[in-house]
Symmetry: none
DNA sequence: CGTTGGCTTAAAGTTTGCTTAAGATTCGGA
DNA sequence: TCCGAATCTTAAGCAAACTTTAAGCCAACG
């Protein structure tokens, strides 16, 4: 995940760069608007943090300029405390989110994560000896490929993404089947059965446990 | 964590309420603006979800009205797809965040969590040497896992959540069994017995006391 | 010491989840 | 476009686990 920070205050830049790198992100910086624009045109970033008050080209115009060619990369504005008006303009200009200075670093990270949620698709998930590559749609168990159908794949991915948390039947229906009302015919059971069978889970590797009366839980 | 939902579409309300409750939040609802306003004046919520188009008082005016007395409680707007303009007005009126319909439930939960970050949210309950993790549905006593059934789990959690307060049999029946009329066959006794037995409570660690003629009380 | 309320136990009743198979539905290729 | 295969969904039987009832016993409190 590659983040671009466009900001002129050196202290803030260092603070952000270091913090985000510790979070595992690749971070590039630009200390003025035109430099920032140049960089966005030459390479692809996964997210852009944009200060409002920057030299050469201001944040708002830079945001608009980026949006001419690229409507998808999330842009988060860092706005000064009392410039709600400007924030609003930023949103109009195509920013996805805003965060007011002074902000807590934790909150910023959470905001960033939200915008990465949709990109999570490229991630690989693991559960014990099981590996899933979401982008390639491949499941391996101990290096051997397991053929899963679409729904089976989604269900397994969902459980792993919520590793160590109980997933209720309703939650599963809501998030995997996108059924938003109480309605249980036992589909989930059928799919759990199929997954367990295909993965050939032994007793000593019951990565997916049933919690009677509640739902299911995945755990290494 | 107590969330207020102000929304008139019954389907959405139910969907949100159930989902958020499963996430461990306490949820109250109001189906029009004036009801919503009344509720905010009479009690304190930790977060407010506000639809734009609601009867009696619209979301924008309600937001402004709430902000007269209360500038801190986070307000998240649920806005219709193509009303960016309105979203902006909402932000002006003092909302902290906005989310566009149709939204993914997962994203909503993430947004809510951000606003709760400052407040600590304990997902684990403790009682003496006993620990309960609600999301994992696990009970530990001195590090050792204790297998409880669904009802046993709920009952124990209820007692711990009401630590140091007497829970009458009727309250327990109402809140754990969801029986809202006087009706006692002695089920509670049976479950208390089972819990005490499984937790193997010694005399010197009688975390759960019986109050004869009244009910039960949990205390470290 | 008798009455009341709580504890304990076991058996009956109920629910839940697993499994299987058959009926829909979807999708791709001829 | 139509057909066949793969996938998804429904439904029903069964077994196991859980919940409730009920009855006898015991302890607390007057």
């Amino acid at each position: 995940m590659h983040i671009l920070i466009v900001e002129d205050e050196l202290g803030i830049v260092q603070f952000l760069k270091q913090g985000l790198e510790e979070e595992g992100y690749l971070v590039s910086t630009a200390n003025d608007g035109s430099k920032g624009f140049e960089m966005t045109q030459n390479q692809k970033f996964d997210l852009i943090l944009l200060d409002w008050m920057i030299p050469k080209i201001n944040g708002l115009d830079l945001c608009k300029a980026i949006r001419v060619k690229d409507q998808t990369t999330p842009i988060i504005f860092l706005t000064a405390k009392d410039t709600v008006q400007e924030t609003i303009q930023g949103l109009k200009a195509g920013a996805n989110d805003y965060i007011k200075k002074p902000f807590s670093f934790e909150e910023l990270v959470e905001r960033i994560k939200i915008h990465f949620r949709s990109k999570k698709q490229t991630e690989t998930l693991t559960l014990g000896t099981i590996t899933m590559d979401l982008s390639k749609h491949v499941v391996l168990k101990g290096g051997e490929e397991i053929a899963l159908t679409q729904r089976e794949f989604e269900l397994l991915a969902y459980l792993i993404q919520n590793k160590a948390k109980v997933c209720t039947r309703n939650q599963i229906l809501r998030d995997v089947w996108e059924i938003n009302f109480e309605y249980d015919t036992g589909v989930i059971d059928v799919f759990m059965n199929a997954i367990r069978k295909k993965l050939n889970l032994k007793i000593e590797e019951d990565y997916i446990k049933t919690i009677r009366g509640v739902g299911y839980i995945a755990n290494d």
